[in-house]
Amino acid sequence: MSTITEVDPAVPAGSTDPLKQRRPLGDRAFAILALASGLLVLVILVWIAVSTSQQASSWFSTEGLKIFTNNWNPAANDFGALAFIYGTAVTALIAVIMAVPVSVGIALLLTEVVPYRWSRPIVYVIDLLAVVPSVVWGLWGILVFAPWLNHIYAHIGSAVQGLWILGPLFGPPTSGASFFTAGIILAFMITPIVTSLSREVIATVPAIDKEGAYALGATRWEMISGAVWPHSQGGVIGAVLLGVGRAMGETIAVALVIGSSATITSHLFAPGYNMAAVIANQFGEATGVFRSALFGIGVLLFVFTIIINVLAHGVVERSARRKRGA
């Protein structure tokens, strides 16, 4: 049969040797395009670091190590940012303390307790929770939730006044906008991600381990603590770290409900501030060193969240790898 007119799709057009190795131009171009898109991630990350640091340089050079002091007074040209770092840490901590038991509880509910048919509605609720935009949490938070919480804060505040530890922590509030309110709303917002990652981790526990525990006459809770928990510890810790990172970076909801007061205080019901919120609220009017300081806070926030996220993903990967190898 004549094969002269037959076109071989693998051979570059125009080449005479049907077994020629050279890849067609289109194929190479596509590969390069794909690689470039991947590299874009690294390029953007580096560019973020570089450009924001440049903008922050005048703050770093004027204040030096004083950036870590609790002395924020733009009118007097003082830009010590400790209050914001404190606020970010405190609100993230409150969020995590509240969200983690709840998220792990829901994850266990879905994987161990609820029959498959009923798990879908629960998952939908969690997805709905995730889809509510930050600004809507903030709107509801400041106009509805905070005033309502204010009553509760007032009751708790008067009840624990003067008590050891509880008094200084839960002293009387001013309005509902406070560290604690921001923490609660952050808890709502990070629950979906901690729940979904915990679920993934718990679902990888081999069924045969669970059967082993049941076969010894364990109740469901005993099986969970004996067979499920040792396997999922690492992954859940990773999920928690991810939640912390997310809580640290969440901006708009916090900006609306935290109370916008740059103070360091143990009173969780008092208004405060945090790194993301101060940037959001004050960048508009800032100039000169003030603006540079806000950039600098942004750089610090970037660095902190990168570190936490690297840790989180590292922990999750390691426990996944150990499981595959085991």
Partner: protein
């Protein structure tokens, strides 16, 4: 439906209509099943199954199993894959409860009490009727904590008592000498044979009445297999053992009594339902099988 059949179990092609729907019909009592009562058993009856069928949803996985298992004996369940031997085994300690939609018809009684009555708690059942699995499944804990897990959930927290139980269980499982100096090491670091013996020790630690074993040596090399078989023979006078195996030589080596299961194919729905074909003392079943199917299995297929 063929009512006029003789005293043998219906042949392989005669699927009772009841294979695919819950049966009200009584199956004729096969002669082979009456054998065990005529041969002296070493102990009292422990399990008594009467007309047991096991369903997953509406699918009948096993049909009409009736047999009696005796104390301090090793009873083997053998048969081709899909014949339901593991399903029946798991019914004995209510592990099938873990499969959604599964239910059991007929009577399964343990020492005179029905295992599936409403007042019976599966947790209590499993404490008395333990199970060792095909693939060793030590918990990701230390060797000590693996063995101590069972006693701990049953309320024993005294360190001295736990030490005693751990040592005794590991000795019974013939693992003590190998691990006594590394009890704190992770259970995951053991070889296959050692891990399986650890799982056996873990099961013995709660002092069960019966130990069920689901192909305990199939994932192990021949030497480890031999160790497990020796172990079974050693502990049988303190426990009762029911073992599922696909290895007929193993059944002849260790078991006192053997039950042979096979598959009924239902041509209409193309489903397969397992059923008990013959149950006899091991020598009799292998030496002089009564049913054609048993004969075909034990002579035609080697292991």
């Amino acid at each position: 439906m063929e009512q006029s059949e003789q005293n043998t179990v219906p042949g392989p092609d005669a699927i009772p209509e009841s294979a695919t729907r819950p049966a009200q019909v009584q199956m004729p009592e096969p002669a082979a099943l009456r054998e065990p009562e005529r041969v002296a058993a070493t102990g009292a009856p422990i399990f008594d199954l009467q007309g047991v069928s096991i369903f997953y949803g509406s699918f009948r996985a096993v049909t009409n199993v009736s047999l009696t298992i005796y104390e301090h004996e090793i009873t083997a369940f053998i048969g081709p894959s899909g014949c339901g031997k593991t399903t029946v085994l798991r019914t004995l300690n209510r592990m099938n409860d873990l499969v959604p939609g599964s239910h059991v018809e007929g009577n399964v009684s343990y020492r005179g009490e029905s295992l599936y009555s409403k007042s019976v708690s599966p947790i209590s059942v499993r404490r008395r009727i333990g199970m060792v699995f095909q693939k060793p499944n030590p918990f990701p804990k230390s060797i000590y904590d693996n063995v101590a897990y069972g006693p701990r959930i049953n309320g024993i927290h005294n360190k001295g008592k736990l030490d005693e139980i751990v040592e005794r269980s590991l000795r019974q499982a013939a693992l003590w000498d190998e691990v006594k100096n590394r009890l704190k090491n992770s259970g995951l670091g053991l070889s296959g044979g050692q891990a399986q013996r650890l799982c056996i020790a873990r099961t013995l630690a709660v002092e069960p009445d019966v130990v069920l074993m689901d192909e305990p040596a199939s994932a192990l090399d021949p030497i480890a297999t031999g160790a497990i078989e020796d172990l079974m023979k050693e502990i049988k006078d303190r426990y009762t053992i029911v073992v599922v195996t696909h290895n007929m030589q193993q059944a002849t080596r260790v078991s006192d009594r053997t039950a042979f299961y096979s598959v009924l194919v239902n041509p209409e729905s193309d489903t397969r339902t397992g059923t008990l074909v013959e149950y006899a003392p091991t020598d009799r079943l292998f030496g002089d099988p009564q049913d054609e199917r048993t004969k075909a299995y034990v002579t035609g297929r080697m292991g």
